[in-house]
Amino acid sequence: MSEVLVVVDHADGEVKKPTYELLTIARRLGEPAAVFFGSPEQGDAVAEKVKKYGAAKVYVVDDAQIKGYLVAPKAEALQQLAEKTSPAAILLPSTFENKEVAGRLAIKLGSGLITDAVDVAEDGTTTQSVFAGNYTVQAKVTTGTPIITVKPNSAAPEEADGAATVEAFAATVSDVARTAQVVATQPRQSTGRPELTEAAIVVSGGRGTGGNFEPVEGFADSLGAAVGASRAAVDSGWMPHAFQVGQTGKTVSPQLYVANGISGAIQHRAGMQTSKTIVAINKDPEAPIFELVDFGVVGDLHTVLPAATEKITERKG
């Protein structure tokens, strides 16, 4: 069976959930082989994690020569690995950076590229959700090695035993790939809440918060949810851009999405329309967000949310 390369999503060696989702999908296409860009010292720890999700191999690519430059070196390393292993497909978690890596890789390998898949079938047919979630597209790579970036929450991770044999892969990075230099990196402070794109529940606030996110955050914490924001809230400087849900921010597809004081402009809908259950609270009964909801409350979030938070906390008592 051919290998399917799966690029590991991790933060400093800490493997993140989309990796397990991709490994689960990869098993439909062939034998999953995880590709870990990071410190070789962390290779064994990563292998311990991915072996539970069926990774037969773990290629450890030392990122010492890679992480100081933007995107291009990773694409080169993957090209070399693909040429060595002739994989059946290459899967990457759909982040902005990985999409760029995939784009360059597609040119290097002369291979078709599909971005932001929400599902991949056994025959390689992908499903994408497009036009702000109004259309579903089925597509397939017809030339070269299929390169597919897959959105978080696209599959439920299923455990399976894998050998997870660790193999160091020495990539050669050319000079031309080392021209856009990472001059400084500032890690974002952890909020202690779940990651926005991975969370099962997302609670967002918009213009209607008036800049006060306390009710939104309190409600999110009572549900163990991630906190998001609309573009209006980000543009007003109330929340950092990293929290933005929408076309130019994060796309989320949680089990439950709660939109508070968000009108539901197309820019926002593009980022949350595929959520399984949608709830909205808005003072304006005419707000377009109510067209999407499974449940809506016409009311002031500043009174509804604290009251609901209290009731939930009581129930959990």
């Binding site: 078709g112 590229l113 597209v137 790579v141 076309q247 109510f290 016409v298 002031d300 609901a308 939930i312």
Partner: protein
């Protein structure tokens, strides 16, 4: 110095966007416009020129698309770009990322080789600027692909752009961090909607745009053959497109004296979220 801004003509996101029978995006039957996210690219190009008083800098807006796509170039000229190029050829229709990036790269190389031919100034192309994504496909991959094809440094997804001499620095929000990226011109740059509000065309700008050079190129002009691009040779194939069934109307309650919170919590409990 020459700056090329890549702009895309897209179906209006507030209109009823749809697909053709061959599963390509309907780019003719739906009202189109310059992609909002490319306006930020035009804006950054103009700011780059304005900050360098005394330097001879020409901004050329480049688009690839059907007849009507020229509107994207026109809008860029109205905003303040100096020259425009529209690559139009029936054979390009249905191109995927690889085809589109190939046509754009060839057009940029042609401008680089002979800038005067499009009314641009002498001296190569030092800066290619793109928006962060198109508002139709939302792929966000073409800028990186252009950097790959042109062999230029990729400086993408900038929320802040600063430059001095031939040095450019940007701020980029990554998944878990914010990074500062530095590179030396010439580069491929893409900018986000955080990079700064795009200007509206002034009346003067709209009038002036009518007199600006606007070239139309075919595949032959770029030295490309019809069998190198388009739907038939795309590396990917769309097999089916389906309109998502409209969400069935949910229950809407009006909050009165705390009834909203109670109903909300009951709903969440009924769905096992609590």
């Amino acid at each position: 110095m020459n700056i090329v801004v890549c702009v895309k003509y897209v179906p209006d996101a507030t209109a009823d966007r749809k697909f053709e029978d061959d599963n390509t995006v309907d780019r003719v039957g739906v009202d189109g416009l310059l992609s909002e996210l490319d306006e930020y690219a035009v804006e950054q190009a103009l700011q780059f020129r304005e900050k360098r008083e005394g330097e001879e800098i020409t901004v050329t807006a480049l688009t690839v698309g059907p007849e009507k796509a020229v509107d994207a170039v026109r809008k860029s000229l109205q905003m303040g770009a100096d020259a425009g190029v529209h690559v139009v050829d029936d054979a390009i229709a249905g191109s995927d990322y690889l085809g589109t990036s190939l046509v754009l790269a060839k057009a940029i190389e042609k401008i680089k080789a002979d800038p005067e031919s499009v009314g641009a100034g002498a001296g190569g192309v030092d800066l290619v600027i793109c928006g962060m994504a198109s508002t139709d496909a939302s792929g966000s991959v073409v800028p990186a692909m252009l950097a790959e094809r042109l062999g230029m440094p990729q400086v993408t997804l900038a929320s802040v752009v600063e430059s001095q001499g031939d040095q450019v620095r940007i701020k980029r929000d990554n998944e878990g961090s914010t990074e500062v990226i530095g590179a030396t011109l010439p580069i491929v740059l893409s900018v986000t909607d955080q990079s700064g509000e795009a200007r509206y065309p002034s009346f003067k700008g709209i009038m002036a745009a009518k007199k600006k050079p606007l070239d139309t190129w075919s595949l032959t002009d770029l030295g490309l053959d019809a069998d190198q691009v388009g739907l038939s040779v795309a590396y990917t194939q769309v097999e089916d497109t389906t309109a998502r069934p409209p969400r069935t109307a949910g229950e809407i309650v009006t909050d009165e004296d705390g009834s909203g919170a109670t109903a909300l919590v009951d709903f969440l409990a009924s769905k096992k979220f609590i």
